[in-house]
């Protein structure tokens, strides 16, 4: 089966250890996770996470089904077939000697990034966008010398009135041979 990237949204009870359980599952079953981001939602008892999985359809459905068996997991869905908004935040600290600053600020303007910290020799830049945009930005910034950086991992929401909470097993459509 063809290997691709899948975006998976999951809702889980915000219990201590829930992330350990989920990441432990990924490790022991050998799923290749590119990123995972998680935080509480409008309901303080519920956490939402976005998981980026690299794998084929078999791995995707195994991951969803194995996750859904977990007691603390409420709902899991793959968002690939949906029209989603994907966002990621990047903070990057770059070398910025005074003579370089204006060049970097110019790049910032083009990419709609912000300068959030300035010291005599460094700058911290902040940019939000889909992962491709962040990759492109990093490529341009890299020659200036990256001291350190942190990406949050992707978060995603489907456009329109559609919510993960309300989904009912739609994610199984691709594999379900029994469905009409």
């Amino acid at each position: 089966m063809e290997e691709k990237k899948y975006t998976i949204g999951a809702l889980a009870y915000n219990k201590s250890g829930v992330l350990t359980r989920i990441t432990g599952l990924f490790t022991r079953r050998g799923y290749n996770i590119e990123s995972i981001s998680a935080c509480t939602t409008e309901d303080p008892e519920v956490s939402r996470m976005t998981i980026i999985l690299k794998g084929d359809e078999y791995i995707l459905y195994q991951l969803i089904k194995q996750m859904e068996k977990m007691e603390d997991v409420i709902k899991v869905g793959c968002a690939n077939e949906l029209d989603c908004v994907y966002r990621e935040l990047l903070l990057v600290k770059v070398h910025a000697a005074p003579e370089m600053r204006s060049q970097i600020i110019q790049i910032n303007e083009i990419y709609k990034a912000k300068t959030v910290d300035l010291s005599p020799q460094t700058m911290i830049l902040e940019i939000t966008g889909d992962p491709d945009k962040l990759d492109a930005f990093l490529k341009v910034i890299k020659p200036y010398g990256i001291l350190e950086m942190q990406r949050t991992g992707v978060t995603a929401l489907a456009r329109g009135s559609h919510t993960l909470k309300d989904r009912d097993g739609g994610e199984y459509k691709i594999l379900d041979k029994n469905a009409d």
Binding site: G24, K65, K69, M70, E71, K177, N178, D180
Partner: protein, 556 residues
């Protein structure tokens, strides 16, 4: 009514209908043991080792269908449960393990006998809990039983801090929620019935799910209505009487010739409550290739995990069969059954009846009183028992299938004895027996009648067999070279020991053993001397297909 956490725990167990627990006391469960003592409502079986307690709770659960319960203290007590919990997890056996832990003030400070047992057991439990607030205790214990006994069953661990056991809170008794399997989707049933009805040469593979759902009578009805032979997996043993003309025996790496041939010939495979493990679907890509595969399992994650099914249905096997049976056309398949009969004859003809182990097990299955559960350890003797010992009803067979836990048998046999009130037959080897023989002391303390058939060949037989086949007879560390006198060993523990030497009459020795076990209400160990060169056959090599079953060992 205000009660301490320890009293709440015992009350909640009684609520759930628990009358027997297996365990071992220690520092952080003193309050629980005190509450147990004061309550007097639960029989506690004190084992020699916590691992034995976990296996006993597992054996008890397998024979009764109820959820088994074991207790252990924090630290080493808890870690000693791990193998038992993992065994239950792999075989989907409902278990609630209760452990104590240090008080909240000591938690996370590497205190004496402190261990993160919930962290350790995440991968081997359906779910686990650490209870830090007495107000959550009752609800947690109730939930633990619900999780263990519903859906695909399995173990749940509840870790209770010491101060939770002594803290008081309001306790209100509750009637446990009845666990009812979810009804199955009717539109799927029609499709499955249609496919089954269209099959010309169907074969059923029945797994542990049939036992777990207590669906054996329904399975037999389906087989009869369809005129369809049934092969069972190790976990499914007991789901159909062995002398039923439609019973093919066990399927798998060491399954019968009849099961392998029937599978090869079949056009439709109806897999019920089985997960196509690598010991059944040895080559998962080629298993049942080009056949119609209908897979019914309670766990959605098992569908298409190992073997791709043509049609599947997620559901309890019992519920499924109940709804499915009226949709199945009664059939008579003379030609197919003639073939099956021929396969079974071939199977009988190819059985190596010269094996000492075969003779002993066959005789034991005839001598043992009706209703005696069969328990095995893991290895050659396990496969021989599965092949040659007739188990004609469900819940009378306990064996570690998924995890393959050597040392499982002694504890499980004790649990099975308490669960059935009968005389278990434990088939073990000298390797396995060496791992947990200490539980013979437990069996003596509690005057548990059982017959232990120790297949004594002085070697780790199964590993040695693989060394014969795959490692050019380089017998690395499989020769035990022990000088143990098992008869004396049994005697020293207060049990009875007998020798069944090569010249001794099998039947009369076994009759004496059962007579003594039942008469004196004691474990009786029969030291069965067998040759280290007896092999488990037939065999399909790992990763191979069912047309490559070998009936003799080609050694290299």
């Amino acid at each position: 009514m205000k009660l301490t956490g320890a009293d709440i725990l015992i009350n909640c167990l009684v609520e759930q209908g628990v009358d027997t627990v297996f365990g071992y006391p220690g520092g952080t469960v003193l309050d629980i043991y005190d509450a147990l003592y004061r309550s007097g409502k639960i029989d506690h079986v004190l084992t020699a080792h916590e691992q034995g307690a976990a296996h006993a709770a597992d054996g008890y659960a397998r024979v009764t269908g109820k959820t088994g319960v074991c207790f252990a203290t924090s630290g080493p007590g808890a870690t000693n449960l791990v193998t038992g919990i993992a065994t239950a997890f792999m075989d989907s056996i409902p278990l609630v393990a209760i452990t104590g832990n240090v008080g909240i003030n000591f938690l996370g400070r590497d205190s004496f006998q402190e261990i993160d047992i919930t962290g350790i057991t995440i991968p081997i439990t359906k779910h686990n809990f650490i209870v830090k607030d007495v107000k959550e205790l009752a609800a947690t214990v109730r939930r633990a039983f619900k999780i263990a006994g519903s859906g695909r069953k399995g173990p749940v661990l509840v870790d209770i801090l010491k101060d939770v056991q002594t803290a008081k809170c309001e306790y209100a008794p509750a009637v446990p929620e009845k666990i009812v399997p979810a009804p199955v989707a009717p539109e799927r049933l029609f499709k499955i019935a249609e496919a089954i009805n269209a099959g010309k040469k169907p074969v059923i593979i029945a797994g542990g799910g049939v036992i777990a759902a207590d669906a054996s009578p329904l399975l037999c009805r389906l087989a009869e209505k369809l005129d369809c032979p049934v092969a069972y997996t190790l976990m499914g043993k007991g789901c159909i009487p062995e002398d039923d003309p439609l019973c093919l025996g066990m399927i798998g790496m060491h399954g019968t010739v009849a099961a392998a041939k029937a599978l090869n010939e079949a056009d439709t495979v109806i897999a019920l409550g089985t997960r196509f493990s690598d010991r059944v679907a040895l080559n998962r890509d080629k298993f049942a290739e080009k056949k119609v595969v209908i897979h019914v399992d309670i766990d959605d994650a098992e569908i298409d995990k190992n073997v791709r099914s043509t049609l599947h249905l997620m559901g309890d096997v019992g519920e499924t069969l109940k709804s499915l049976l009226p949709l199945i056309d009664g059939r008579q398949r003379k030609d197919w059954l003639v073939k099956i009969e021929a396969f079974k004859k071939e199977n009988a003809a190819k059985k190596d009846t010269s094996l000492r182990a075969y003779k002993i097990l066959k005789a034991a299955s005839e001598v043992a009183p009706a209703g005696s559960p069969l328990i095995t350890d893991v290895g050659q003797h396990q496969m021989w028992a599965a092949q040659h010992y007739a188990v004609n009803s469900p819940r009378l067979f306990c064996s570690s299938g998924g995890l393959g836990t050597m040392g499982y048998g002694m504890g499980a046999a004790i649990g099975a004895a308490f669960g059935t009130g009968k005389t278990p037959v434990l088939v073990t080897g000298d390797g396995c027996f060496g791992m947990n023989m200490n539980e013979m002391m437990t069996a003596v303390s509690r005057r548990v009648p059982m017959v232990i058939l120790l297949m004594h060949n002085g070697v780790l037989g199964m590993v040695r067999q693989w060394q014969k086949v795959f490692y050019s007879r380089r017998f690395s560390q499989t020769d035990l070279n022990r000088k143990t006198d098992y008869v004396k060993l049994a005697g020293s523990m207060g049990a009875r020991g007998m020798t069944l030497g090569e010249g001794d009459d099998i039947e009369s020795t076994l009759k004496r053993a059962f007579g003594a076990a039942i008469g004196e209400s004691l474990p009786v160990l029969v030291d069965c001397i067998i040759s280290p060169d007896e092999n488990v056959l037939p065999m399909i090599k790992p990763g191979q297909t069912y047309d490559t079953q070998i009936e003799a060992l080609e050694e290299n």
